[in-house]
């Protein structure tokens, strides 16, 4: 297949049309997948105000001393990882609450190891599909003398190649989804996504795989580090310089884009009416002039750089909000940047704004006056006292009475990543695949499902991140509309029926029997339902609900023993095993498919 020059729009169109044409795929489902997600009869959705019922919260930030049991451990995992994996739950329950939170935060754990980079997986040599990394392309600079790139080798140190960057970007995204799927007992991936939502950028806008990857690794590596340091690194990061036009910001033509978002979205916020001024935006932009892309490295190991010649060397005068601070002009960009960040981070608004965001990310979106006073303010103080180290804040919040308070359980509307990746984790799904190409295609299916639910990691709607974390008064409820609710259920149905198929034989789907096998006594319909609902639904799950789910499992049969007989007939592996497998699968799929398309399942 010859690939002509692609821009980012045509790349996505092409990739989609490729997916549709693939004859080996289950085209009855996947060939039509894009259409399936086309808007359906869009109904006007009611704007429902946030909760008005005032619930008296018992707890503040004091350490939680109540029982440490399944319910608490499950709550902690649901909020800090994606989905709930039974083995993770068992690990945490074998620890104390303190130890469990420490483990999630990486305290007393082996030091963070950077994961291996994404690899060249976007070519299928059998069908000549995808994009083949050419060895010595005649028209590409910086390729001379490079060895050929083999499937499975990383592309991140390869020079820029316009034709490949779309594929590389998807390869990066798939790699990221893999890290979420394969995460251990660690908050790191959820925090990486937090920072991505916070310092939002879009791969579709930058369209350079390596840049997206480097940026993502920056967020991941510093996810549990120091917020001020992370802000500085992001300010100088190539992805952000591209995304918010910092690379164009120079003394002759200042660009205020980044200087504004740095204050409005990344640090100070607009929660308080008294905040930075327009003049502060102008002055901050002057401080940041000169930080740009080192064009000499653009095709190879692209770096940012400070060009003194592009820097505004005059003094920068800030408003009363910043105590009329003057940042002395000069030729040292680094020193001026540090001064700017020190000035900003001296404001209490930064810690308060961030703590509210963290609270909404991990606890609940509704922050009333009591929560502000008893949780946000003391948490912000801890943040400042620790010079913006993130860990002490998370540790205090996640070990607090407040976090484990009953009213804060189950009220978190799952993100699409929770639905897609979290469900796969609950089903203990391993990563694909037979081939590199299968892996690429499966990830592409997943990214399409995520996009259909309006959360594509790597491409939030804009620099402010996803609306679910900022759009007052709806917040989380922004995830649920007539399209996304339908698509959440499409995904579940698909994973129980056709699955994600790259070929007739390579199909990724929920294995309900394997899932059921992990419980204490899968032949016992009562305990099985009990354990399944505890894992997949937040409390409370009523006895009536369990009885109904059991009725589905028994497909109307009145005696539980029929389930027991079916299970053990299968487990004993006799000549009828295939028959019993079908019997079990049919009933488990029906029960689990029902459960996982319930409104209750959307909560964590």
């Amino acid at each position: 297949m010859t690939v002509t020059t692609l821009n980012r729009r045509s790349f996505f169109q092409k990739l989609r049309s490729n997916t549709e044409e693939k004859p080996v795929e289950r085209t009855d489902f996947f060939g039509n997948k894009i259409e399936l997600f086309a808007p359906i009869s869009s109904q006007e959705l009611p704007l429902v105000p946030p909760p008005t019922t005032t619930i008296a919260l018992v707890g503040g930030l004091e350490p939680y001393t109540g029982p440490w049991d399944y319910e608490q451990a499950a709550h902690l995992l649901r909020r800090t990882t994606f989905g709930l994996k039974k083995s993770d739950l068992e690990t945490l329950m074998s620890l104390s609450m303190d130890e469990a939170v420490d483990k999630l935060l990486g305290i007393n754990e082996p030091a963070y190891m950077e994961p291996a980079p994404p690899v060249y997986n976007y070519y299928n040599p059998i069908d000549n599909d995808g994009y083949e990394e050419v060895t010595v392309p005649a028209n590409l600079p910086f390729y001379d003398g490079l060895p050929a790139l083999a499937l499975g080798e990383t592309w991140v140190d390869r020079p820029y190649n316009n034709d490949a960057e779309g594929y590389r970007t998807e390869s990066f995204r798939g790699w990221w989804l893999n890290l979420m799927l394969g995460q251990g007992i660690s908050i790191r991936e959820r925090m990486t996504l937090f920072w991505h939502n916070h310092f939002a950028t879009q791969t579709e806008s930058v369209f350079y795989g390596k840049v997206c990857y480097n940026h993502n690794q920056l967020l991941r590596g510093n996810a549990l580090g120091n917020f001020k340091e992370l802000t500085k690194l992001v300010t100088k990061d190539v992805m952000m310089l591209f995304y918010l036009n910092g690379y164009l910001n120079n003394k002759d033509a200042p660009d205020e884009n980044y200087a504004r978002e740095l204050q409005e979205l990344f640090t100070i916020g607009k929660d308080n009416p008294d905040h930075y001024t327009e003049e502060d935006v102008v002055q901050a932009a002057r401080v940041l002039t000169g930080w740009t892309i080192d064009w000499n490295t653009y095709y190879t190991d692209i770096q940012s750089v400070f060009y003194t010649g592009a820097h505004d060397q005059g003094d920068k005068q800030f408003s009363a909000f910043y105590n009329n601070t003057i940042i002395q002009g000069g030729t040292d960009g680094e020193t001026e940047l540090d001064a700017l960040l020190t000035m900003i981070f001296d404001k209490n608004e930064v810690s308060e704004y961030l703590c509210r965001k963290l609270y909404r990310w991990f606890v609940y979106y509704h922050i009333d006056a009591t929560t502000e006073q008893n949780v946000i303010q003391p948490l912000a103080q801890i943040f400042r006292d620790n010079n913006y180290d993130i860990l002490p804040v998370l540790e205090t919040l996640l070990k607090s009475t407040h976090f484990f308070d009953a009213v804060n359980k189950g009220c978190y509307i799952k993100t699409p990543v929770d639905v897609v990746i979290g469900s796969m984790r609950s089903f203990n799904m391993d990563l694909p695949s037979n081939t590199m190409w299968d892996d690429f295609v499966i990830k592409y299916f997943l990214r399409n499902f995520l996009e259909s639910m309006q959360m594509l990691p790597g491409d939030p709607p804009n620099v402010a991140g996803w609306q679910a974390y900022r759009q007052s008064p709806q917040f989380y409820r922004m995830w649920i509309n007539s399209n996304t609710s339908r698509n959440r259920n499409f995904y579940i149905y698909a994973m129980f029926s056709g699955g994600l198929a790259t070929s007739q034989t390579n199909i990724m789907q929920f294995d309900a029997i394997d899932f059921a096998s992990q419980f204490s006594d899968p032949g016992n319909a009562v305990t099985l339902i009990d354990e399944v609902t505890k894992l997949l639904l937040p409390p409370p799950v009523s006895d009536t609900m369990k009885a109904f789910l059991k009725a589905i499992l028994l497909s109307g049969a009145q005696n539980d023993s029929y389930w027991t007989v079916a299970w053990f007939s299968y487990a004993d592996g006799g000549i009828d095993q295939q028959m019993w497998e079908t019997v079990l699968k049919t009933r488990l799929n029906a029960m689990l498919g029902y459960l996982m398309t319930l409104p209750e399942f959307q909560l964590a």
Partner: protein, 492 residues
Amino acid sequence: MFGQLGAAANLSGKVMVFIELNGGNDGLNTLIPLDQYSNLFLHRGGILIPENKVLNLNGVDATGLHPSMTGLKEMYDDGLLSIVQNVGYPEQDYSHFRSMDIWQSGSDSSEYLDTGWMGRALESEYPAFPEGYPNPDNPDPLAIQVGGFQPLSFMGSSFPMGMVVPNNPSDFDNTYLNEYVEPAPATPYGDELEYIRLVYGKSQEYFDVIKNAVEAQPSNLSSLYPSGNELADQLRIVARLIGGGLTTPVYVVSIGRFDTHSEQVDSAAHEEGLHAELLGNVSSAIYAFQDDLRLMGKDDNVAGMTYSEFGRTIASNFSVGTDHGAAAPLFVFGKGVNPGIIGENAQIPQNLDQSADVPMAHDFRQVYASVLQDWFGLTNIQDILFHDFDILPIFKGSSPSEEFVNRNRFEVSNYPNPVRTSTTITFTSFSNANVVINLMDSQGRFIMKIVEGSYPTGVHRIRFDRSNLPSGTYLYQVRLNGIGVTKKMLVF
């Protein structure tokens, strides 16, 4: 009336209501083969319905209904009921789960399908579903299960072709239509849950049409629905949806507890007990539903049928019950059916094993094929059922049924009547037929066999000599291929 458009348009505007009897219905106590009564008494004396309690069906002597099924008896007598004898599948599995899957998927005994027979039928007519559905031409659900969950029978190749509506009318007031909607607690969890339910309800593709239909038919017209009858409650909802204008062609309702291993009957009165209650519920629910359809003017295009995953053993067990067996009869009702009994009573031998059961005489897929072809007007039966099956003459106008009906149609008369010394019984056979003519007293008690033999197509005359028969009223029954016609004969 059914509109030009709508889901049902592809399926001849017809509606079929499937009534699942979950657990395995005891056919021999449902449709009682009176001509086998003495042997039945030997084997299932512990549960057998007293002969004099069995409901007689108009024009049928060798077969009667369970005494609690008065509604179905009346429907039979009114020409609204077709009974198919001894339906099952080859190589009966005897597992509830597997057997129900076989019935719902329409598979062979040794074949494992993850699609349903209705799902395949609907997908063959609406291949794009659910993409682009609902749409102006197809505004309504393709299949509805009332209560419970999506059955395997609805499953298409990727998605269920149907939906579930609540079986409690008050649940139709919810923002989210589901069989199971628990009140949300007054907590943040409850607040969010209410919101999600609200949007999910709005996003339920058929939320509006279902609600509109229920509102358009705010009550049932028939006053015959019994209370405390789960099946009647479900059929009430089906009637309102049909009355409210839904064009949905397929409905499924169900009633359970037919797995009567013990205490199937009241030991002191076999016509009472659990099974009597269940069959009574089935009968009275169907009877009221048919009345409702008639009052709404919808009875021309609606038919229904019962089915159960299997029958039960011939012999009763020591727990006053019966165990899993093979075939059992099923009922098809509505104005569209050919009234009558299709097939013969099973022969109950004098000696048999405790586990012996009624063998299959009709493959369940013959019934499906008949529904698909003669009711819904589909022609691609093989694509849906994967084999060719002989159509049964269940429905009026059943094209291949002509021959079958002829095979089973006959005219009987005797002359002279009253009889002084002898009389000639004349019957017409429209095909080769096994014929038995029995003489009975006025109470239907067997006296003697007049004739038994094989007769070709044509008119046959049998001479009967009075001999030393006392004067009085007698009955004689001509049974042709198992279907009997009984006539009265006066002897002076």
